[in-house]
């Protein structure tokens, strides 16, 4: 019975949303209501997820599992941020400055580390992937686009060269669009499977 109820709710919601998007002016209020329910449920799910995360880290601290010190840092940081936001308010400039001074350097350095890894990956490309048409074309295209991104060729000011550069820069669009069309088709088919009740990610 529980399974049937969840399937019915999923199918009904899907059909309603599609209908409301298509028949917009008439079904706008229904669509708005469903979407706001969705926002609420998504936000609540995020809160539940955060609670489970804190609980998991707390359990690791309580058990004394290996690496519990990092769990301690997570719980402590969460607690401080949460209490600060509740007490001072999210709009407080001091609170925002404090949070951003911690978060921004962390995330920016993370992306910097990603850049280094990409550089080493480029260095090891042919050791890892061997010499094949795919890897050779990958390497050549990477070098070409890196050189184009520097702007030296554009700085020459030759109009014909600019046109050639523009043409080269548009070549990846075709491949990217093809992949995106395929992804869209896959998402469409999955959506239809959910609509007809074959796909049940909410249960077995």
């Amino acid at each position: 019975m529980k399974r049937i109820v969840s399937i019915v709710i999923a199918i009904t919601t899907g059909i309603l949303v599609i209908s409301a998007i298509i028949f917009r002016p008439q079904l706008n209020p229904i669509l708005s209501l469903i979407l706001r329910w969705g926002i609420l449920i998504g936000s609540t799910a995020a809160l539940v997820g955060i609670a489970i995360l804190i609980k998991t880290h707390y359990q690791r601290i309580a058990v004394g599992k290996r690496g519990f010190f990092f769990s301690l840092i997570v719980v402590f940081g969460f607690g401080i941020s949460f209490l600060g936001g509740m007490l001072l308010g999210v709009d407080n400039p001091g609170y925002q400055k404090w949070i951003s001074s911690i978060q921004l350097p962390l995330e920016i350095s993370f992306l910097g580390l990603l850049t280094l890894i990409l550089a080493t990956t480029g260095f090891r490309l042919y050791r890892l992937r061997s010499w094949s048409p795919l890897s050779i074309s990958f390497g050549i295209s990477a070098i070409v686009f890196l050189i184009l991104a520097m702007g030296y060729l554009q700085a020459l000011g030759d109009s014909r060269l600019d046109k050639i550069i523009e043409f080269i820069q548009r070549i990846p669009i075709a491949g990217g669009r093809g992949i995106l069309i395929g992804m869209g088709l896959g998402a469409l088919v999955i959506g239809i499977r959910v609509l007809i009740g074959v796909e049940r990610p909410y249960g077995e």
Binding site: L35, L104, F123, I143, L146
Partner: protein
């Protein structure tokens, strides 16, 4: 089954209970062991190996042999098989006959023959071990019988393995026609004629190829490891070789102390004579092919098979251990021998590439200031902002994560400056929670920015769909109003500028919200460099009115505003790109000829 290790009587090292040859010195652990078909030879060989029966057998075995009781044997092995019982009867009969008949033969030979007749398969060994255990505290009889039975089975298997290794032991040596003289003999005679060396006469000599090929085969390698005396070149005639020579096998005198190694540098003639004896006893006749001679000589030596077997087992066990340890791990490149010349060449190449990268930056050869014209999409962006006036309002959407905020702030700074100059009212809206404080960071850069409110749009994609409803349902086009959680806000807009670092974020704005915005309003986008290409089709299809993407375009935008751009930022950006190019190029050069990881050698797209 006894776990006791056997102690070699010669070198004193420990060996497996089932071993018949010492792993360390290679000498037999039991002199009386005989292989079917080689009984006569083994008798004669043992004559050379063992001078005196009393000296050869260790005291322990001697005592045990003396104390051997035939009745004990009959009782113990009565349970094993009917054949054994008959063998015991035969043994008893033979014992009686043997004791009466022969007195001329030496004692030790008598015992050997006696035992050879009595023992079936490995029962002789088993008896010996049983006797040897008399001095050791024994478990109860049933378990003792069981353990002995297992030993007996083990010995049978060992013999079967040994037999499989020596398939040709029983084959009689085919006599070679006397007319054919072997090539080595011919060479010797030729040398005799030239007078370089004294005549070899009738002595059988091993040619020089024997010395050269002594370590060419795996079996010879194994021999070299365990029996160095066997790999020494055999010199039958004085002066034939400068290397120290030793006859294989039997010339290692086992002295009373039990030293196993042959003493190098013995008298060559004496060695040659001994070898002659061996060859004669073994039954080799002149005329056999050189290679076949060596192979057959190796096969006739029983100790080789045991050592081979044990060592191959050890190697296989080691391989299995390595496989188990490396299981689950990615393949590791084998170490290649490094050629010093190639290292120097690579070093020169690296320095060259690095100089190409560093020199322009250090000398300022390449102007860090970006020159050129803006792309059409950037130009359209510029013109769209330029058309705004003081009565207009702009909705700025912050749709990027904090990690890329530095880049996005740099790219969007000239845009905000331009909007400020146009005296356009701006409102910030964000879909990320962090966007609330990112907007303040954005406003703090560049020219003085008046304080503006930042609205948070919850729900990500669903929130955008909800926003589109508000936009389309609003009575006044160009107003965003939301009644979510009583947080009503009405935002008037004449242009929407989306600041995004991901293609998915920008695409959702374009596809979910874009169709429902006012037709008079313009939809503009500021994106990071890597997403520029993916947004160009939207610009081509007029879904996007302007696109500013990348640091270069932003610098040109700044130039168009007559602002000065920071050269250090451009320089570091270009340096970073050059280093990436250098990494690729150096990687290509170094990977030429290098092995790839084993599981990645097949690259299937």
């Amino acid at each position: 089954m006894s776990d006791d290790l056997l102690i070699c009587p010669h070198c004193g090292e420990e060996n497996l209970p089932s071993a018949t040859r010492c792993l360390h010195c290679g000498l037999p652990l039991e002199e009386a062991f005989a292989i079917d078909g080689l009984q006569d030879i083994s008798d004669s060989l043992t004559a050379d190996f063992v001078k005196d029966e009393d000296d050869s057998l260790p005291e322990l075995f001697r005592d045990l042999h003396e104390e051997a009781d035939s009745q004990k044997k009959a009782i113990k092995f009565d349970k094993l098989s009917a054949e054994e019982s008959t063998a015991d009867e035969v043994e008893q009969n033979d014992a009686k006959e043997g004791s009466q008949a022969e007195e001329s033969t030496p004692e030790w030979l008598k015992k050997i023959r006696q035992r050879a007749k009595v023992e079936e398969d490995s029962s002789g060994d088993l008896i010996k071990k049983v006797n040897a255990r008399d001095d050791i505290p024994q478990p109860s009889e049933p378990s003792q019988v069981d353990s002995e039975f297992e030993d007996w089975l083990r010995q049978i298997r060992l013999n079967a393995r040994r037999d499989s290794i020596q398939p040709h032991v029983d084959e009689p040596q085919e006599p070679v026609p006397v007319e054919e003289t072997p090539s080595w003999l011919k060479k010797l005679r030729e040398m005799k004629e030239t007078g370089e060396e004294p005549e070899a006469e009738e002595k059988e000599t091993l040619p020089e190829w024997v010395k050269e090929d002594q370590v060419s085969s795996p079996s010879e390698n194994l021999l070299a490891k365990g029996h160095p005396e066997h790999t020494q070149p055999i010199q039958l005639t004085p002066g034939a070789t400068k290397e120290s020579t030793q006859a294989p096998g039997n010339l290692n005198k086992v002295d009373e102390a039990g030293s196993e190694q042959a003493k190098p540098g013995k008298d060559q003639e004496e060695q040659g004579d001994n070898l002659q004896t061996i060859i004669g006893q073994v039954g080799f006749t002149p005329g056999i092919e050189d290679r076949a001679f060596l192979d057959e000589f190796e096969q006739e030596r029983p100790e080789t098979a045991d050592l081979l077997l044990l060592r191959s087992q050890r190697d296989r066990a080691k391989e299995l251990k390595d496989m188990v340890e490396n299981e689950g791990k990615a393949g590791v490149l084998g170490k290649q021998p490094k050629n010093p010349r190639s290292k120097f060449f690579l070093l020169v190449l690296y320095l060259l590439v690095l100089s190409v990268v560093a020199l322009p930056l250090l000398t300022g050869f390449i102007d860090s200031k970006i020159n050129g014209t803006m792309q059409p999409s950037s130009l359209a962006f510029f013109e769209s902002i330029s058309q705004l006036s003081a009565e207009d309002s702009v909705l700025v959407v912050i749709d990027y994560q904090p990690g890329s905020s530095a880049e996005m702030a740099l790219i969007s700074r000239p845009v905000l400056d331009h909007i400020t100059r146009q005296e356009v009212e701006k409102t910030f809206i964000t879909t990320y929670p962090e966007g609330v404080w990112l907007s303040s960071q954005l406003m703090s850069h560049g020219e003085s920015q008046p304080e503006t409110d930042t609205y948070y749009l919850p729900g990500a994609k669903i929130g955008l769909m909800n926003l589109s409803i508000d936009m389309s349902g609003s009575p006044l086009n160009g107003v965003v109003s939301s009644g979510f959680f009583d947080n009503q806000y009405d935002i008037e807009y004449d242009s929407i500028i989306i600041l995004t670092d991901s293609f998915n974020g920008g695409r959702n704005w374009l596809e979910l919200v874009g169709p429902f915005i006012s037709r008079d309003a313009s939809l503009l986008m500021v994106a990071s460099t890597q997403e520029a290409t993916m947004f160009l089709p939207y610009f081509d299809s007029a879904q996007l009115d302007g696109l500013l993407a990348g640091l270069n375009e932003s610098t040109l935008y700044n130039t168009a505003l007559d602002n000065s751009s920071s050269t250090s930022i451009n320089k570091s950006y270009q340096a970073g790109l050059l280093i990436m190019v250098a990494c690729f190029v150096i990687g290509i050069i170094t990977s030429i000829g290098a092995k790839t990881r084993p599981e990645l050698q097949e690259d299937k797209p």
